[in-house]
């Protein structure tokens, strides 16, 4: 207790002695009030402690005088009922003024409740927040919202609750949470955040929902209503019933009806239960299903029981459908990542026949380009990807052209040497990134439009980042197909890859075409890197994770066939995701690999083998 008292009283000598003496006497008095014998030994020992503490902080005689004063005051205060004060002494902030030291009562004002938020105990804070919510004060909603969002602070100097806004480079601008008065700027160390825990967060959300249920904004009402689904608090339900009668928004009505229906499953008369089941029939909110399942166990009335079963069946059918759509989506999205990673390789390996072990590193360079673009345009994360896509294409493409001109062109027709050389290049590129940027992963931001998910129905949501990347993969594929089939470069690429001598005889500059083709494949790898940076960690080693998958997809699809790559990537993705639920992530990957090995035994040229003379070489 004594260090705490010293802390509270800031070391002022007489006050300290007074305080201690006072407290000790009060505690003794408490003992007396409870009709318990006072142990004289412990009492004197305690007094000894008090005076020794006092002595340590001030010259002797003054201490004695201080203690005397304390005794006098204590004696005069002793007849007071000591119970509350005992509680105070146990609390972390002993308040020694008998007038204001009464226990926090139910009539505490809004301001007092708010100041209780600065306590360290989450229980006290939760009770205070609940009281603030129940107060009906107009300041409650913004205050609770700020508390929930972690924007509510208190000044360490005087425990005043404040809102903060960043000001200057290191400071905060304060606004009093109660009066709205500006309190000037302080350093970040002078304010402390009012922390909330999970329980409190849940309570706050419900409290805010209750307060905003009657808000004029339908979006707010909808959110509030969703928070209340599954609630069995009678006061909440009656509030919802009231709102339901007045509600005119269709979506909100639906959710409110659901809240009421779940509560109505517990009604004593079977007709209202049946009506409630009717509302819940086929409803995809998990709370509806849980409530029906609970009813299934407790229900006696056969008619209601049958209706419950039918409602649950309808829900399960819809869930089944949802889950199939979800698995398909997961598979396609994994497939789109595989396609993106492999499609560049489909050009360099499939069309040119170069085993490029540095393909993964070209992806990595694309991802790092995204990182650098984001560093170059701070605060514009939402737009950075639009810049990063062409930038990554050019940077990785340039690396590709350089690799082709300096190494690969000397090694055409010698696959083993190409393999070793490009493997060396991949190590060089990794080390380049380690030394110039960092051996550690870097943080690539997700633009806000790629976070969150598209809610198709209450049981099915597709995440935006996967959705965009699926679309992106298809667009890249289409563009690449267009380039190969519809442009002069594409024509030359196909000509050179089918018959180099003949193409040269027709006036095609084959060396230039080789460089451009390799650059195109590398550039596409870079673009894939931009997409992957949104899904996975960006680090020097990231390319290694994709090189195996990329070769797998190209080989499975049939070398030299872009459509094969698309179909193979998507197939492998979906197959992987179909197996994952029962085989686990590790085993699913192994099974896919085994399947491909067996498949290649049967059809060595993949799904879509090339036909004709080119294939015969």
């Amino acid at each position: 207790m004594s260090p705490m008292s010293r802390f509270v009283f800031g070391g002022s000598g007489p006050a300290l002695a007074m305080a201690l003496g006072f407290l000790l006497l009060l505690m003794t008095a408490t003992g007396a009030a409870d009709n318990q014998p006072i142990d004289p030994a412990s009492g004197s020992a305690a007094k000894l402690t008090a005076s020794s503490v006092a002595e340590s902080s001030m010259p002797g005689p003054v201490a004695d005088a201080g203690a005397d004063v304390a005794n006098d005051i204590a004696a005069s205060a002793a007849p007071e009922p000591a119970k509350n004060l005992m509680a105070e002494a146990e609390a972390s902030e002993p308040d020694l003024d008998p007038e204001t030291g009464s226990e926090p009562d139910l009539t505490a004002t809004f301001d007092e409740r708010v100041s209780e938020l600065t306590e360290t105990s989450f229980k006290v804070k939760e009770a205070a927040a609940q009281a603030i919510a129940d107060s009906g004060d107009a300041r409650a909603i913004p205050l609770l919202k700020a508390l929930l969002a972690g924007d509510l602070y208190y000044r360490t100097a005087d425990d005043r609750v404040v809102y903060v806004a960043p000001a200057g480079s290191r400071g905060w601008a304060l606004t009093d949470a109660l009066s709205g008065e500006a309190l000037g700027e302080v350093g970040r160390r002078d304010v402390r955040k009012i922390t909330v825990n999970n329980r409190m967060r849940g309570a706050l959300r419900t409290a805010i929902a209750a307060l905003t249920l009657a808000s004029p904004d339908p979006a707010l009402r909808l959110r509030a209503a969703r928070e209340m689904v599954g609630s069995d608090d009678p006061s909440v339900i009656s509030a919802v019933r009231g709102q339901l009668a007045a509600e005119d928004d269709r979506q909100v009505t639906e959710v409110l009806a659901l809240v009421v229906a779940i509560a109505d499953l517990k009604q004593p008369d079977s007709d209202s239960r049946l009506a409630a089941i009717e509302v819940l029939h086929g409803n995809l909110y998990p709370q509806a299903r849980n409530a029906l399942n609970a009813l299934l166990e407790s229900e006696q009335d056969p008619e209601v029981l049958a209706a419950t079963k039918a409602a649950l069946d309808a829900i399960d059918r819809k869930r089944q459908l949802n889950s199939s759509i979800e698995t398909l989506f997961f598979g396609l999205s994994l497939g789109s990542v595989l396609v993106l990673a492999a499609i560049g390789l489909a050009i360099t390996f499939g069309v040119m026949g170069v085993i490029n072990m540095a393909h993964g590193e070209l992806i990595m360079i694309g991802a790092y380009t995204t990182y650098l673009v984001q560093q170059a345009m701070p605060g514009l994360t939402d737009w950075s990807l639009l810049v990063a896509v062409p930038a990554a294409f050019l940077v990785s493409g340039a690396f590709g052209v350089a690799i082709e001109r300096t190494v690969i062109r000397f090694l055409y027709g010698r696959p083993l040497e190409t393999l070793l050389a490009t493997f060396g290049i991949s190590l060089i590129l990794q080390q380049l990134v380690r030394t110039t940027i960092s051996a550690q992963n870097v943080v690539v931001q997700n633009p806000s439009w790629m976070s969150g998910s598209l809610q198709l129905n209450p049981g099915l949501a597709l995440t935006y980042n996967r959705l965009y990347i699926l679309l992106f993969a298809l667009i890249v594929f289409a563009l690449l197909l267009l380039v190969l089939k519809r442009t002069a470069l594409g024509l030359q690429v196909r000509a050179v890859s089918q018959n180099r001598a003949m193409a040269r005889a027709m006036g095609v500059h084959s060396a230039r075409v080789d460089a451009l083709t390799f650059g195109l494949g590398a550039g596409i790898a870079g673009v894939a890197g931009v997409a992957l940076s949104q899904l996975t960690n960006v680090g020097p080693n990231m390319g290694q994770a994709y090189i195996i998958d990329s070769f797998m997809v190209v080989v499975f699809g049939g070398v030299g066939n872009l459509w094969g790559t698309l179909v193979a990537g998507m197939t492998l993705g979906v197959a992987n995701k179909l197996m994952e639920p029962w085989a686990g992530a590790v085993l699913a990957k192994i099974l896919v690999l085994v399947f491909i090995i067996l498949f290649i035994q049967k059809r060595p040229r993949g799904l879509f083998p090339q036909r004709g003379r080119a294939a015969a070489d």
Partner: protein
């Protein structure tokens, strides 16, 4: 003439190349430079942490921590009147390479002690080397227990100092009834989950209320696993995820949780391997409220901690860097080692091993860490919730420091075992029923 090569050589060569990738990547680059070894009158200290690869996210900081501690000690005049000298090697997140590098440190550099390893698989990989060459390893990370070596001091938490209290907190404070045990596929998560599963079942949790899931290192496609967790958690009972996911796979995992809209109030995730350092790589906005159990948080409000953070910021010259639990463990381990060397008057392994048992030092959360005879230390258990600034708000703390238990009381094979490296037992796996020391061979079979 370019031609489309036929498949067999292609596949063969691809196969060779992939094999090469695996075996060569370890050699891809080597360590940070060691301090100039001109002065013979130094005591060498080995630092064995991955500076590249999947674990670099966590381990690089620990290398810097040891360097800082050594610098600090040298400013105080070193140990036994000699300066300390760091020998830093990079095992590159490659487990067999850990053993090679450990051998190099002990045989070539003749270091007095090694501070290192993060994953249990790396510790298991170096263990035989330390036992063979009689070296000293200070291991700073929470681990699965079921081990006590004469040559290793475990300054991180044993399961009874992290996993069990964390589960108790979820069960008693949050009322959790269904459990997802998700982990990376290697020894630490598997053993920890085995202990937790046994513990939960002994506490009356039914088989169908426990879901166990393993993923490879560096896993990045979390869609279906997170969707499964969401389904598992929406069946009425309060559900929590106990995560032993390690390394950088956590980043996409938490991102996916955020994207699929799983908030901490619905399904809290309590992590044993995610600290301040790992969070500094993520936007923590969607993670607010998820939990972590450690024995130290940067937000611990003590003077010792403030001083430590200040020293760290001064050393690393960046006031935005965070501190974390394994850093504290290294600090405690280092303090104890220095004390033991001073007490023994030599850096000789056996003398230091005897001297260190029973020594104490203050930890950063205001208590005392004591080296126990089983080579584990006493630690308080803290549970924190992630805040949007990447820090943890402490929501629970044990009143007293918990002594580390090498052998779990909840597993059939290990509940009768204890470790005690003092006379007369002097054994890492002593069976209290049969009064026999199983010895290292038996332990390997366990």
């Amino acid at each position: 003439m370019i031609s489309i090569p036929s498949f067999k050589p292609l596949l063969l060569s691809a196969g060779i190349a992939l094999g090469l990738t695996a075996s060569l990547s370890g050699f891809a680059e080597d360590a940070a430079p060691a301090v100039d070894p001109a002065d013979d009158e130094t005591i060498k200290v080995g630092v064995l942490h991955s500076l590249s690869g999947t674990m670099a996210i966590s381990e690089t900081t620990l290398k810097d921590t040891v360097l800082m501690l050594i610098e600090e000690q040298n400013e105080k005049g070193g140990v036994l009147g000699k300066k300390l000298e760091a020998v830093v090697v990079d095992p590159a997140s490659d487990w067999p390479l850990f053993a090679e590098k450990a051998r190099e440190l002990l045989q070539k550099d003749k270091v007095a002690a090694v501070f290192g390893c993060w994953t249990s698989v790396s510790r298991k990989s170096v263990l035989p080397v330390f036992e063979e060459l009689n070296g000293l390893l200070f291991y700073p990370v929470q681990y699965e227990g079921e081990e006590s070596s004469k040559n290793v001091f475990y300054t991180g938490a044993a399961p009874n100092q992290q996993a069990i209290p964390a589960v108790d907190y979820l069960k008693d404070e949050l009322g959790v009834e269904r459990w997802v045990l998700a982990g990376t596929d290697y020894v630490y998560p598997r053993t920890t989950n085995k202990i937790l599963e046994a513990y939960l079942k002994q506490n009356g949790v039914a088989e169908e209320d426990i879901m166990i899931n393993y993923t490879p290192f560096g896993h990045s496609d979390w869609q279906s696993i997170v969707a499964d967790i969401k389904k598992f958690g929406s069946e009425g009972k309060k559900t929590a995820v106990v995560s032993t996911i390690n390394g950088d796979a956590n980043v996409p995992f938490y991102k996916e949780l955020g994207n699929q809209g799983i908030s901490a109030e619905d399904i809290p995730v309590i992590a044993f391997s995610v600290g301040e350092e790992e969070l500094s790589g993520i936007d923590t906005g969607p993670l607010v409220g998820h939990l972590a159990a450690w024995n130290y948080f940067m937000s611990v409000p003590t003077d010792e901690n403030d001083a430590f953070i200040e020293t760290w910021h001064g050393f690393i010259d960046d006031s935005n860097r965070v501190t974390n639990d394994p850093m504290e463990a290294h600090k405690i381990g280092f303090d104890l080692w220095v004390q033991a060397v001073e007490k023994a008057g030599t850096t000789d392994t056996d003398a230091v091993e005897n001297a260190i048992i029973g020594l104490t030092t203050s930890n950063l959360s205001g208590g005392t860490a004591k080296m126990l005879p089983n080579h584990h230390i006493t630690k308080p258990v803290l549970i924190g919730e992630i805040q949007d600034d990447g820090q943890f708000a402490i929501v629970y703390q044990t009143e007293e420091a918990v002594p580390g238990d090498a052998w779990s009381d909840y597993l059939e094979g290990s509940k009768d075992l204890i470790a005690d490296w003092t006379d007369p037992i002097n054994c890492g796996n002593y069976n209290t029923k049969t009064k026999k020391c199983l010895g290292s061979e038996q332990a390997a079979k366990e």
